[in-house]
Each structure stands twice: as C-alpha cells, then as structure tokens.
C-alpha cells in the first residue's frame, strides 16, 4: 500500500471505496473478530474449569478492549486486505474453534 504519498492525493471514487472498506472492516470485521474472541475465550475458560457465568462475565469484560484495538488497527494498518483477512478470517476461525471446543465440553 502507499506509504509515501500524502493521502489526499488519491481522490474520487477510489478513495471513497477505500474509506468505506476501512470503516466496514473496523465496524463489521471488528465485531466478528470480537465475537469469535468471546466464543473461543468462553470455551477455553470452560475447559479450564471456570463456571459458565464467570466465563461469560470475564470475556464480556475484555471483549470491548479487544474490539477497540482491532477497530483502531483497521485504520492504522497499511494493508486493508490484511485487515479483512485477519478480522473476518480470524473471527470465523475463533468462532469455529470455540464452538467445537464447547461442544466437546457439553455433557
């Protein structure tokens, strides 16, 4: 991605698309990443023997700090493609892994 040019040199629809992409990544990608983080986190906590209510409470306490970090990263990162990959891909992976682990736990 451009590290050299001043951002205002790009104009028109290309820049609008980039902005929309960044915002969508930050908001929606961030949300899906946070969701996956919470699901995987709860599953790991359950596996470690924590009661469900405590696991949920703990993950909720950290979830929005995670969301904050990935949200800011969506704008700071050089490559928007990498942002989408990490947030959507990572979110999906964590969700899948967490769900699978939790099912193993279930009586």
């Amino acid at each position: 991605m451009d590290n050299v040019e001043n951002h205002s040199q790009q104009s028109g629809p290309m820049r609008t698309l980039q902005i929309v992409s960044r915002v969508a990544a930050g908001v929606l990608g961030g949300w899906s990443f946070t969701w996956g983080f919470v699901v995987l986190g709860i599953a790991l906590a359950l596996a470690a023997g924590m009661p469900y209510a405590d696991a949920q409470t703990l993950l909720y306490l950290v979830a929005f700090l995670v969301y904050l970090v990935v949200f800011c990263w969506s704008f700071a990162a050089a490559s928007i493609a990498r942002v989408w990959l990490v947030l959507l891909g990572g979110g999906a992976a964590m969700t899948g892994l967490g769900w699978w682990m939790a099912r193993l736990q279930a009586v």
């Binding site: 451009d2 951002h7 699901v39 949920q56 909720y60 306490l61 704008f75 700071a76 969700t95």
Partner: protein
Amino acid sequence: MFSTFRLSMTWLHTWFGLVLGYVLIVVFFFGSLSVFDREIDRWAIPETRFAPQPMPSFDTMLAPIFARMAPEPDELKAAAARVKGPLPATLAPMNWGAYTTHRDPVLSLYAEYAVPNNPADPDDHVHGHATLDPRNGRLLPDDQLKIGSEFFYPMHYGLNLAWKDLGYWIVGFAALVMLAALVSGVVIHRRLFRELFTFRPRKHVQRSTLDLHNLTGVVALPFHFMFALTGLTVFASIYLPVSETLLKPQAVAAAMADAAAKGLPFKPAGVQAPLASVDAMVVEAKRRWAARGMPGEVGYLYVNHVGDRNSTVTLYRAGSDRVTLVGQPIHFEGSTGRVLLEEPSPSAVASVNDFLTGLHLQHFEHWLLRWFYVFGGLCGCACIATGFIFFVEKRKRQHAKAGTGGARWADAVAVATVTGMLVATLAILVANRLLPADLAQRGDWEKAAFWGAWVLAAAHALWRSAPVRDARLSSAWAEQCSAVAALAFAAVALNWITTGDHLVRTLAERFWPVAGLDLALLVVGMIAGAAALALRRRAGAAIAKSDPAASTVDAAEAANA
C-alpha cells in the same frame, strides 16, 4: 491509505468524532442528568416531594395492593391478539416485585401475569405496575411521567428508541467510538503532559477551542474511558449474544445446574399455598446481613410463583454504602418463611464485574461523588461541543473560499444538537408545569413537547446557518442561548407559581431535590444568558471588522496558532 500511524488516528478521531459526536453528547448530557434522575422526578411530580422512605411492611401494606393489582390494559389488548381463544377474565400473577432506593420517596411495584394458550410462547406474560406512597399506602396516578428516571435516563442508554433495540445499538456503537476517540486523541496530542493545564482563552477561537477540547478531554480521561467501557459491558449480552445463540446449550445447562444446586424451585407445583409473613423474613434477612458486617435495608423484594406451594421470596439488600453492586440476596420458602439459601459471596470475576457495573450505575449514597459524576459528564459534553466548534472553525474559511457547504451543515447540526438539546430538556420541564394536572395522557404530551421543541430548534438552526457559508458565526448560537436562558428562568418561576415550592422555602426546609434542580436551572440560565451576550458582542465586532483589513487580522491570528 494513511502514510503514518498518527495520520490514521487523526482521520479516525476527526471523522468518527464528528459523526458519532452528535449521539455521544446526547448520551453524556442525559447521563449527567440521570445522576439525579430521581430528584428530577420529585420536581416533575409534586405529590412525591417528601423524604425517601424505607421499604414498608409487606404484610399490612403491600400484600393487599398486590392482590388488587391488574395487568396494563394495553398489554392485555396485545396479548388477546396473540392467544388462541379468549383471554380469561383474570390472569394469575406469576411473580411480584417491589423496588425502592435511598433516593426514592415512592415505592415501585411490579407484577407479571401468566398468559395461557399462546401457541408460540408457553412463557408468555404481561406486566402490571403501581407506584405507592409508602407513608400511607396511597396509590399514585400512573400517567404521571417520571421525567428523570423514565425519560431522561432511557434517553441516556437508548435514545428512547426502543424499536428492535436500535437505540441500544446506536449508543453502543457511539461508546466504542468514544473509546477510539480517546485513544486516538492521546495519540494525536503529542504534548499531553506538558499542555495539561494549558487553556488560552484570549487567543483566536480555533486555538482556545482546541485548548478547551484537550483540557476537558484529558482532565477527565479515566472517567470518560471507564464510563464508555462499563456502559458497553453492562449491555454486552445485547451486542454479543453468544449465550442466546452459539453457546445456548452450554448456557442453559449451566443455568439449570445452578438452579438445581441452589435448591430453588424452577417451576410452580400447581398446588396452592398461602404466603407466610414476609415481614418476619425481612427481619431475618436484616439480621443475617448485619451478622456478615453489611447491615442494610431491603432494596428489592421478589416473590416468585405467587400463591403456589413452591413460592419463594427473595430479598436483596439496598447497596448504598459502597460502589460495588451488592445484591447479597437471601431466598426464603414462601409458604413457611424458612431460609432456603443465603447466596454466598460472589466469585472474583463476578466481584470485579459488580464493582465496574456499580461504578457506572451509582446506586451508592455519596452526594459529593454524584456531583463529581455530573462534573465528569459535563466535561465530556464540553469536550464534544468544542470538538464540533473546532471542526467548523478550522474549515469554514476554506469552505467559504471554495464555495462548499460542509462547514455550514456541520455547524447547523452542532447547534441543533448542543443548544437544541438544552432547549428540548427545558421545554419538557416547562410543559410539565404548564399542562393541566388532569390532562389525559399527560406524559405523552410532555414527551411531545420535548421532541417538538427539539425539532423546532433544529429547524431554527438550519434556517439561521447561512452566515457560516461566508465564514461568519451563525446567529443561531446566540439566539438559542437566549432561548435556553428564558426557558430555564421560566421553569423556576413556574415551579414557584404552580406548586408554591419556591427556592427560599425549599432551601429553608432543606428539600434538596427541588432546591437543587431550581438552583441548577438558575445557574444554567445565567450561563446561557452570559453566553448569548458574549456571542452577540463577538458577532457585532466581527461585522465592524468585515472590511478588507480583516484578511490581515486573520493572517496574523493564523501565524499565532
């Protein structure tokens, strides 16, 4: 897209701050008002202007009232449409609740009634509620809007926009953006510690506005951060409903295991049994709390499976002596009064959560800390408002030269949000005093006054924003400040005229809820009036300066930045 980290954070701060700032200032302002929501209720409902009372006797006062309570008529009508066949003449009550705080003179009573024959939802129920004067058991009319706790407070966490939880989502997103704005603000503000006390009001508007923006943001930075974060965690199950979806089997299994471990009956037995003396249970609960080193009053009383052999009475302590939300419930067997379970101290995780939630929801009794919360909230409002003003000031000259209207619209929406919000808030208080006492649906008329006033203020802001196109100050600011001052003084006067509780009397009687609000209204009126005068003077000076010589003044000011 951005060549440096700092540039990306600047973009984030500017644009998300601008767009969500309009929502955030509403959240912060009504949050500040909500610190004293129950005191505002006293001002708005003169019949409740007496001192807070502890929970009265259940057996002698509450039980007969619960027996006479009925479901809300409009909920009954909606339920009739949902069920197969006609609704029975009376619905059986499922549970009863009574709630009071150290700030409430009146008691709130709630009930849920089972709705049978709903094929879609076997747990379908409707609600009833009543408000009670605990000194004599008199019921208060229910169409009196509790302007503080039932309008300003829901405005704070949901913008009074209940449709599909849309308000919660908007406020939640705004809270996330607040966190990002704080972090990005710190990144942009290179000299955070060196300029901690820097405020240069005599410099030109852009510089002094930015100084004030930085000051109000940094000085209460921990406050702003913690409130945005805890606001999000309080409603986390709305934003990330994993337990209702993906992890529902695990969540339900854990809840049922918990209930079984506690030994509390999950369902009614279907056998009738009378309720034992709840007053005796209250005495026992207080004894146990005192024995654990946390003496207190009952804050919330809950009777489950009303009239059944499996009924339980749960008593929660009113946690007003510390920050943490201490519920410490004790469960009693309804038919015998025997203690079923005294809930143990919460786990470490739960304790941390209770502390953080308690920090936000402030059930504690500490007047200085409450006023500090208002101070923090108003700092947040000032930070956001100065953010808007800085945005507009920075761009209006460029936009005026280029002929684009962006700055003008940003300014108009800023006026509509900042002063318009004040106008609406005062309008509902004025309407509260002006509307006839026996008007049907009085609460709805009051809400209409609020929204109507805001719409008018927004229209006025748009109409008067033309000068911004030419890089001058919109006259809407001064005009709305004058309106705010007039409304604030009118509200105080109307309180005196309609209730006789003027400031001299309320101060002499030390009735702080009404005296405090009247004083606050006077202060608001004076500040708004002074602001209106100052703005008119500045506009007058600007007109006197608006000749070719002005451009050299601008250049000199820009050089000083």
